[in-house]
Symmetry: C2
Subunit: 409 residues, 2 copies
């Protein structure tokens, strides 16, 4: 039997325990929703104040040059590149994940004009499916879903592009990006990976896997703040030929020449469209400093240890109470989250939140926990399992304030 | 001859003079670039600190509900609606102007499927031309430019959509939106107006003009901050039939149902795509409070008085020095900016900035001044004209630090 004391001992010996101090975390709360909204970095409020009061307030329009705003999309993209196995000039920060997915998917279809099928992983994050289906409808392509566990079956010589989120948002299943990219390349299809639930929680190796394109969200494991702008990656080999469907001035070779026709900038910059939301972008930049000096391999090791502990404790204490593990048992196939199915999942999560432990709920019946290795402690996992068991044993979830549904993010 | 004392007297009697105190303006600087980046509102820094430290830092994921983040795109859209002659539920804040233009133009083409021509005003803002040409290339439509002074000539029965910026970014020419919408309606074409250089400086009357769609930037006259998210308008009569080409979860009828297929939300909300950049959006919301209680008619009256003074002084003092007025003489055709052409325009603007008067330069030879009625004083106009005359008379612009080109926004 794992004890609370054993968990405390693991925290005391955790070589990454000091990273928690890089964030502001409310006293007395166990926050296991960093995979929905990462916590506030300790220096972000001061950085925002400087951006607002000095750069905007006093620097005014000059700050586009003097404060480096103009370069920020590229500069922050370069920092994210280091987390996802890409070169600095292959990543840029702009727009939302949805918009970036749209732009890259249309670009991919144009690079593969003889083919007309778009494949998206079954049960992938809804917006990825919606955007891809929308692109298919707009361009006359066929849309289909595929099982990312068996990519060789679905990807064929009609397939133009394959879209997959590396870690599934509900189950936390980690898919084999290299195998999928290999299967796609073997048939001449292009890959577009969504790294929203993997980057920042593990080492992602886009170029080693031979990925063509990727997008990702920055407000989860990258802690960029609510709705922080997303990033996009395109492998350098596609830069010269790829075309952005939303050709705006920030993607122009010379934006301030205000020239008659659109001339795409060299490289990844051509995938920019309009002016990026600078305050949100600068908050993200500061937030990324939490990764300074962090060994992503060590981060993944801790993440696996946290989810392993969760699975073991859930087997021991929650399985008898009607919970079913909805995440893979095999660590190599698991991201940094753990999900459990329970018929009263919604109300159980509300009761848990009322006790100061924040996870989230995903329809129809999943309670989901982001065991973010940067901030979550082993004892947090222990306390969460104990609280879940107690809530179900005491039927503490069965109150109107917990069972009544409201909008949940 | 207009004197500095006469200008000071006008400022002393200006019923809108108190609005200047709603902004943080650097001491000793005359800021005439609020049409590129509006100044910082006095309460914005405190609002940002609250958003970062309390809402994100302490509220974490809960703030999507508890702090009203989830409703913010609609709520702020509703505030902008009041400035542009639209109903509250016809405007939403999201993405950049470029992305919104793309979304609405594709939507307009789909509403007018038998037609294949897109018209954009000659000399319109580059990104508007680029985006429209890109949409045309992607959808197989024809792209052409037209003279917005003579819309009846160009708009024909092949025209699907007409794109026009109400006030031209270089000349400051104000076009007759009602006439253009009428000419378009007479031929069955749809209109898409860009309000970036008009909204916030005058009363814009979208519905009274019969406009179909509109977009606009919020970091100019609306003072939302660098790269603040843009807005989009669709007339209510189009809501049920219009389709967003970038169908993301925020535009779904039930985003948190995570349902299989995309079901568009009712109304304008379906034009959302991904998660909006919340910090930038909340800064914009606070900035809009500068318009509380402001009579847009009175604002326009002051704006016209400022540009009239500028034109009169330029005629008197700058015409003999090689400056040519590049803005309309007729007030009814003029926005809130005044532009002058001069062969040494670039260096003259740099020399002016070095003296603490900030305007901007637009290639090839325009010096441009945003005479934003909320903050600019009559005496600022006087001092600017005097400084320009002095710089040219003394050839004070002819120094390497002024003549060497750098990136300018």
């Amino acid at each position: 039997m794992t004890t609370r004391e054993a968990c405390q001992a693991r925290d005391a010996n955790d070589p990454l325990a000091h990273l928690r101090a890089r964030f502001v975390l409310p006293d007395g709360e166990i926050y296991l929703d960093g995979n929905s909204l990462g916590p506030l970095g300790v220096n972000v409020a001061a950085r925002m104040a400087r951006a607002v009061e000095n750069e905007w307030g006093r620097g005014l329009i000059r700050s586009w040059n003097a404060a480096g705003w103009y370069e920020a999309s590229r500069r922050v993209g370069g920092r994210i590149a280091a987390l996802i196995g890409a070169e600095r000039d292959e990543v840029i920060v702009a727009d939302s994940t949805s918009v970036n997915l749209f732009k890259l998917l249309v670009a991919a279809l144009r690079l593969n004009p003889a083919r007309h099928k778009v494949l998206v992983a079954t049960d992938d994050f809804p917006t990825d499916r919606y955007v891809a289906a929308g692109v298919a409808a707009m361009t006359g392509a066929a849309f289909a879903t595929f099982d990312p566990g068996e990519p060789e079956i679905a990807i064929d010589r009609d397939t133009a592009a394959v879209v997959l989120t590396q870690v599934n948002y509900k189950s936390g299943r980690l898919y084999d990006m290299k195998r999928i990219a290999g299967a796609a390349q073997a048939k001449g299809a292009l890959t577009l990976f969504d790294l929203s639930h993997s980057a920042g929680a593990m080492k992602v190796e886009l170029n080693r896997c031979g990925a063509d394109f990727a997008v990702g969200c920055t407000y989860k494991y990258l802690n960029g703040g609510p709705g922080a702008p997303a990033y996009l990656f395109a492998a350098a080999r596609h830069h010269a030929a790829m075309r952005n469907p939303i050709e705006g001035w920030f993607g122009h070779a010379e934006p301030f020449a205000f020239s008659e026709g659109f001339v795409p900038a060299n490289g990844i910059v051509r995938m920019l469209s309009g002016t990026p939301p600078m305050l949100s972008l600068l908050a993200l930049e500061e937030a990324l400093s939490a990764f300074d000096g962090v060994d992503l391999g060590a981060l993944r090791d801790k993440s696996l240890a946290l989810t392993e502990l969760f699975v073991a404790l859930a087997d021991e204490r929650l399985a008898p109470l009607g919970f079913t593990l909805a995440s893979p048992r095999d660590g190599a196939s698991r991201g940094a989250q753990a999900s459990l199915a329970h018929e009263h999942g919604y109300a159980i999560m509300q009761a848990l939140i009322a006790r100061g432990i924040t996870g989230d709920f995903r329809a129809p019946d999943l309670v989901r926990f982001g065991l973010v290795p940067m901030t979550v402690r082993f004892v947090d996992v222990f306390d969460t399992i104990v609280a879940l068991a107690d809530i179900v044993k005491a039927r503490a979830w069965d109150k109107p304030e917990f069972t009544t549904r409201k909008v949940v993010t």
